[in-house]
């Protein structure tokens, strides 16, 4: 890893900084061709300012299916706003996989810690791995907090949160941080059974203290909540600023309902992207920078398909041995034509794929 170039405008910076930069240069020379942090990483992985990591400080089991990880972010962290999510990079069977999790702890903890609650989803590699293997002391990779599922600076007089399943996690973060600033809060939460309610105890305690009005719905017994039923449960529905988080169909239904009522701007939704992609044969490949797009059938490499469509592409051996042709896949699913292995990428990922031996197995977006 080459050291990042440092600007050296002597004379424009204070002497101490010049000295520091100079000393740093010497340190970089000592460790060339790698950077000093590569050595430091061996003993202090959280100190690296260029690679954000976190240490798992504690693991609490929430339900049979969910755990909360208390994380201490390393250098380079920026505090989150309640409702935001972070991406965690976890090595599962030697492969680093990234997933987004909402921060469920209140903002601005004096300890600097944050917590995320991971609900194991079916076929979810990362969530099931964390459920089974997360331990105190484990190091995970981290991205800065992101997302706009947050409260406005001016807190609404009346608010409503509609959540289902693990959709409660960002809302829990919001409630823990700001419930005292929200005068009138209704939470409508669906889960399969009473035991499956993540943060059930916390929510019920808030309700018992009169901080929120909690409406629990147990879909195992009562079936799915329909938007039309909401009006019965919450009579002043459209007067409330509403935040919703849960499965895609639920959010779609809510969005329709709100826009039919002409209240679309009062509804804020947070979608968890489905991460389970199913491999098919061939697919359309989009080269995001050039804007080129090509239908790539199964059995034809993305390199050949792209070139045939006039896309400029890096290449070398064209047989999978030189790695000259790798391009970042932002989103999509490909199949290695040699061994049939499937590689997927979801938004936010940048999985490097060898285009000369990869065929599309669904729609793919490449960063090229």
């Amino acid at each position: 890893m080459t050291s990042p170039g440092r600007p050296s405008r002597l004379g424009e910076v204070p002497v101490t900084q010049t000295l520091r930069n100079g000393a740093w240069r010497v340190v970089e020379l000592i460790t060339t061709p790698v950077v000093p942090s590569d050595y430091l990483d061996v003993i202090a992985p959280l100190r690296n300012p260029n690679v954000l990591r976190a240490r798992v400080e504690a693991v609490h089991r929430e339900t049979a299916n969910a755990v909360t990880l208390e994380l201490r972010p390393g250098r380079g962290w920026r505090p989150h706003q309640p409702g935001q999510y972070v991406r965690l990079g976890v090595d599962v069977d030697g492969i680093r996989l990234w997933r987004s999790y909402s921060v469920s702890s209140p903002a601005g903890q004096p300890s600097g810690r944050i917590s995320v609650t991971v609900n194991a989803v079916r076929d979810g590699l990362v969530s099931s791995y964390l459920l089974a293997n997360a331990r105190r002391g484990m190091i995970v990779n981290l991205d800065l907090p992101a997302g706009d599922f947050v409260l406005p600076a001016e807190r609404p007089a009346k608010s409503l949160f509609v959540t289902a399943g693990s959709g409660i996690t960002p809302v829990m973060g919001i409630l823990r941080s700001a419930v005292h600033e929200l005068p009138d809060v209704v939470v409508v939460h669906s889960a399969r059974t009473s035991e499956d309610v993540v943060f059930g105890a916390d929510l019920r305690a808030l309700a018992a203290a009169g901080r929120i009005t909690l409406i629990e719905r147990h879909t195992g017994a009562d079936g799915r909540l329909k938007p039309a039923e909401l009006a019965e449960l919450v009579p002043d529905l459209f007067e409330r600023e509403t935040w919703a988080c849960g499965p895609g169909e639920m959010l779609d239904a809510l969005a329709d309902h709100w826009s039919e009522a002409g209240a679309a701007e009062r509804l804020h939704v947070e979608r968890f992207r489905p991460t389970v992609l199913v491999a098919g044969d061939g697919g359309s490949v989009t080269f995001e920078r050039s804007g080129a797009r090509v239908e790539a059938p199964a059995g034809v490499s993305i390199l050949d398909a792209g070139e045939a469509a006039g896309q400029l592409m890096p290449s070398g051996c064209r047989m999978g041995i030189c790695f000259k042709c790798v391009l970042p896949m932002r989103e999509g699913i490909v199949r290695d034509m040699r061994d049939g292995q499937i590689t997927t990428a979801v938004e936010g990922d940048n999985v490097l794929i060898q285009t000369c031996v990869s065929a599309a197995a669904g729609p793919c977006h490449l960063d090229a």
Partner: protein
């Protein structure tokens, strides 16, 4: 060695085209088995080697701060030599092959790794991964055969210049990393004409090499010696020695990969329309292993399993030992020569060839045997 096509006893005469494709399928199956289990263990392995290497390097450099004292000099130099060998062979070479790209760790990745070597990783990847591994042992295409400065085949025309090739080879061994840098730059070719000299790509690469060498030299011959104060000269000498030891070691290991007796080279025309099976076969006949202990394999970056490496250059190197069992069985099944031997024997064999070919020889069988390896008439593919 004569190219396969002109050998009197053709080692693959007994194979049919179907056999060759079957070999290809069996090798693909061996590869699939490794891919299916590749994961945690491989990631942990490379991380551990990196950790050991970095600790060893720091430790040795710390000891060298006191290299004024002979025992410290000896210990530090030995440790640093081992650290540099590990860094180049088991870590750098293998990561730059993309063997650990599957981990998706941007820190341990073929696109970001830089190594303790005069040649910048990217240039080496071009000449090594892209050219050498694709055109293995094809005379005139694979410059690794003789690095463009040696005569490596009886069919190459002799010239008095080659009389000195044992000397060149020896000097190349001592300063191997610079030899490789010059080689990756194609210095011989690119310095020839003014037009080539001013080619912007060449100039850019030249600059990159210059910068890299500058930094490397500054580190080993100025900064670290300066840190050791009164031991300045001793540390400098220690670093120089460690570099030379690393150079001679890697040169020897690499010579054993394709030079020893029993390894085949190929005519340029033989790769027209080559199938996957034929490509595999060329790797099988064109590479040689070194036998030895586990430590030996680690110190060679598992290039002691050159045959397996050439068949599967992107599989984690620490898997080659287990793969070798199956590969060897395949060689036996198809009655093919699996060239291997202990290091001294292989090194001697390679050197003997360098010396033998420095002298003129009787021209071997004149006409090439067009049937080796069997291939269909296909137009020559356009190569970049």
């Amino acid at each position: 060695m004569t190219t396969l096509q002109r050998q009197e006893n053709n080692p693959i005469a007994h194979l049919t085209a179907e056999d060759i494709e079957a070999i290809g399928r069996e090798l693909d199956a061996i590869r699939d088995e490794v891919i299916a289990v590749r994961g945690e263990r491989d990631a942990a392995y490379i991380r551990r080697v990196i950790k050991v290497q970095r600790s060893l390097e720091i430790g040795s450099r710390a000891v060298l701060l006191f290299s004024l004292f002979p025992p410290a000099w000896l210990v530090g130099t030995a440790g640093l030599s081992v650290a540099k060998i590990l860094e180049n062979m088991e870590i750098g070479h293998n990561i730059l092959h993309g063997q650990y790209d599957f981990m998706r760790d941007p820190k341990i990745h073929s696109t970001t790794w830089e190594w303790d070597m005069a040649t910048p990783a990217e240039q080496w990847q071009h000449s090594h991964n892209q050219i050498h591994h694709k055109y293995t042992n094809v005379v005139g295409k694979d410059n690794d055969l003789g690095y463009g400065i040696m005569r490596v085949d009886e069919n190459q025309r002799w010239h008095p210049f080659f009389l000195a090739q044992p000397l060149w080879n020896f000097i190349n061994a001592l300063f191997f990393e610079y030899g490789i840098a010059a080689y990756d730059l194609e210095l011989g070719r690119n310095l020839q004409t003014k037009k080539r000299r001013s080619n912007p790509v060449f100039r850019k690469n030249l600059k990159a090499v210059g910068r890299k060498i500058g930094k490397q030299a500054l580190k080993d011959y100025v900064i670290h010696p300066a840190l050791s104060g009164p031991s300045f000269l001793h540390t400098m000498a220690a670093n120089f020695t460690a570099n030379v030891i690393r150079n001679v070691w890697s040169h020897s290991v690499i010579m054993c990969g394709h030079f020893p007796n029993g390894v085949s080279t190929f005519e340029r025309t033989s790769i027209k329309g080559e199938t996957r099976g034929e490509w595999y076969l060329r790797q099988m006949l064109g590479s040689a292993n070194i036998s030895g202990s586990k430590l030996m394999h680690i110190m060679t970056g598992n290039l002691s399993h050159q045959i397996e490496h050439h068949l599967f250059p992107d599989l984690p190197a620490s898997r080659y030992a287990e793969v070798a069992v199956k590969v060897r069985a395949l060689f036996e099944k198809y009655d093919l020569p699996y060239v291997t031997g202990p290091l001294p024997k292989q090194v001697a064999s390679a050197w003997a060839k360098v010396i033998r070919l420095s002298l003129p020889n009787r021209k071997p069988t004149a006409a090439p045997d067009p049937s080796i390896p069997p291939r269909r008439p296909v137009a020559e593919p356009v190569t970049a």
